[in-house]
Amino acid sequence: MPELLSVRNLKIEATSYPPGEPPKCITIVDGVSFDLQKGKVLGLIGESGAGKSTIGLSALAYGRGGAEITGGEVSLNGTNILALGKTGIRKVRGAHVCYVAQSAAAAFNPAHRLGDQVIEASVKHGLMTKDEARKRALYLFRVLGLPNPETFGDRFPHQVSGGQLQRAMTAMALCPNPELIVFDEPTTALDVTTQIDVLAAIKHAIEETDTAALYITHDLAVVAQISDDIMVLRYGKTVEYGSVQQIIEAPTQDYTRALVNVRQTAREEAPDQSQALLKVDNVSAQYSNGFKVLHGVSLHLCKGQTLAIVGESGSGKSTLARVITGLLPPSDGNITFEGKALTPELKRRPRDELRRIQLIYQMADTAMNPRQTVRDIIGRPLTFYYGLRGAAKTARVKELLEQIEMSNGFIDRYPAELSGGQKQRVAIARALAAKPELILCDEPTSALDPLVAEGILKLLMKLQTESQLSYVFITHDIAIVRAIADSVAVMHRGRLVRFGPKSQALSPPFDDYTDLLLKSVPEMELGWLERVLTSRRMASAGN
């Protein structure tokens, strides 16, 4: 069978401009080769910076942000598309090869209706008339399970949800009947319960239209559901390339094995969960415009343990953290810490109360002053709470760096000179500097690559056993909950739907929402998606 897409020895470079230094040439992709046949799906997987998006875009002969394809060959149906001129490549883009971006919310033009944008490429390339294209869009909206497919195209991007936009983007890519679609992390920005629907819709649409696809993701469990072959990438080079079955079940490289086995660390929950350190009692909260975001939430956390709060975006999990910190005082109910009521408002809290509860954020980047060195960032709470200065402060900062497993050499670095994982470690050290009893962790690992995230989780657990720390761990990732929690709270639309020790909360019988949430988490297992969909269909047939 002839190859649809054949990539040989691809080399992609970019020029970077580090401040104060002469421009440097960086190799993003180096010597990558693969083949893709008609109707097949190849998964490209790797950490951020592995070059997977860059490779995906090379199928459209496009370099993003100054990246340039400097070597190799990309052949589509036997034609090297890198050799086509500006006009030539324009005839390929949007007609033969289409692209689905990670953030459909940004990739759609806010000024035009979805329908017009979906059919634009097909009409402009002269592949079909406006009416034909509209009919095809309607068909695709149906295949992708969009609500009210007849009128969906009349809507503007801001009028539909993120999951619907992602499906609309898929429809836009499918509309001109392309031979190849590049999916660039199409479900990464979505909640798990939405992700599974989009994933199923994409898979169904690919099969229905017999289109080939490059599927780019950092989540091996997702790519295992949708691909025929998988290529594992690291630092712009191929680590391993094989069939899904081989990669998942018999990986040959250490790096692949680490990816497959990530989050195998699980720990037993603490047996005694009766001595509450933090007690949240029937707490409700609302915004100043009267919009109620929390409805009578009650839960507790014991000393030296971890409470995981799980839920989708908009479930109120971060709001609960804001209420505990005092950023958003509760409208009703009360919170006690070691038996004493916490001052509701942050501004009125005595310094010692502030010291005992610290925070770690999702984006360590934005939570640190880019103009301060690690010494200043970690040293600030030392001065603020303990009045440390000079040599005593430096000594303590070094001690804290050791605790977070970073060498003293980092003390004078700026945040921009640290990797994502290192930044999050510094943020942890800053929280530790106050010697808190409770740390609120708001999705501290969700912006990190799986292996880096794993390191952060291990560090947090080590610190917990060393100094009897308690954590409130906010996450949308069930795998993390399984790994680190003692007790679990599931939140949905501002309400607590489930709370208890991990063993109870995560075992049946489930309430409807927890059931849906647990079943939506992709598992690193071939055929998982089909199984879940079949069981769903049977459940709905039974009703």
Partner: protein, 335 residues
């Protein structure tokens, strides 16, 4: 999202939810009106608080207490401030700004002539500067970070850094005195031909254009650049659209709002900034009229000019906001 008990709201909120665009527009217009009234208080109060008074200045040496009191009574200055303010405001809203103390003519009539001249000058400057600024902005985007872009930037920055009276005198020195290609002073009178008029206002127009050009040009450049770097422009390129279609269909609608905004703000500046330029070029517009009135403490004229300038400024700003609101699809098509 929430149960019906929570969504029950005041009629005002319900109106806002159903017609967010209309509600915003009405709110914005009411705000402008409120602002105008506040400005009228400031102008009246400010003029009232000025030291010295018309009667003493007018009478000069012969200012006996009796004569001063007579004039004050004649002009109604002996009545309470509050009632005079409301009379003035009521008149102003009907287009009657009272009589000039100095010339005893109707202020409205005088203003009518002068305002026409000022708007003609400002309008002509706008007709030249807006297309020029937007065009240069596009040009510098096209040659981004290359020589033409840098040259445009440096020249426009130089122009904005010089005060307008200085630019005015420079232009007079070179074009009127040294080369003699332009006329000075820029006198216009009734019954003057259109071409003649244009010739007369060439130098003041050039001064105004130079002053507002840089700001508009740089904002246009920034607006287009920010749109061009957005993800949907990449989508357009990856759809295989031509550069022309991508710009016209995908970039322009989104760059419009910020450009409209800066253009309207600069138009407002043109109308108000015209004061200095008119004085420099001895042009018979509102600015000159106002400055003359200030020297003889002719308060009704000063107040009228102040209020009209404020009204134009507020109106153009309101127009900018309204156009920006209407250009936003999120507000035009609520969820």
């Amino acid at each position: 999202m929430s149960n019906p008990v929570e969504t029950e709201s005041l009629p005002d909120q319900r109106f806002r939810e159903r017609f967010p665009l209309l509600a915003l527009l009405i709110e914005r217009m009411l705000l402008s009106l409120l602002l105008l009234v506040a400005v009228s208080v400031l102008i009246f109060g400010g003029v009232e608080a000025l030291p010295g008074d018309f009667a003493t200045t007018y009478l000069g040496q012969s200012a006996t207490p009796q004569a001063v009191a007579n004039i004050r009574a004649e002009l109604g200055l002996d009545r309470p401030v509050v009632s005079r303010y409301f009379e003035w405001l009521a008149g102003a809203f009907q287009g009657d700004f009272g009589t000039s103390w100095a010339s005893r003519n109707s202020v409205s009539e005088q203003v009518g002539n002068r305002l026409g001249n000022s708007l003609f000058l400002a309008g002509f400057a706008a007709v030249i500067s807006v297309p020029l600024a937007v065009g240069l902005g596009m040009l510098s985007v096209h040659f981004r970070n290359r020589m033409p872009d840098k040259i445009i930037n440096v020249i426009s920055l130089a122009a904005i850094s010089l005060p307008e009276f200085f630019i005015g005198y420079l232009l007079i020195l070179y074009f009127a005195v040294n080369f003699g290609v332009a006329t000075f002073p820029a006198t216009v009178y009734e019954g003057m031909g259109f071409i003649e008029r244009l010739k007369a206002i060439a130098l003041p127009t050039a001064t105004l254009v130079l002053v507002v050009l840089a700001h508009m040009m740089r904002m246009t450049r920034a607006a287009i650049l920010s749109v061009m770097s957005s993800a949907y422009m990449e989508t357009a390129e990856l759809k295989g659209l031509s550069a022309f279609r991508a710009i016209v269909k995908h970039a322009a609608p989104n760059a419009l709002a910020p450009i409209i905004n800066v253009v309207a703000l600069n138009l407002a500046y043109l109308v108000v900034g015209v004061v200095v330029v008119e004085v420099v070029f001895v042009y018979p517009g509102m600015g000159q009229y106002m400055v003359d009135a200030v020297t003889v403490r002719d308060m009704p004229v000063v107040q009228a000019c102040g209020l009209i300038f404020a009204a134009v400024y507020i109106f153009l700003n309101m127009l900018a906001d309204i156009l920006a609101i209407v250009a936003n699809p999120r507000l035009r098509h609520p969820r």
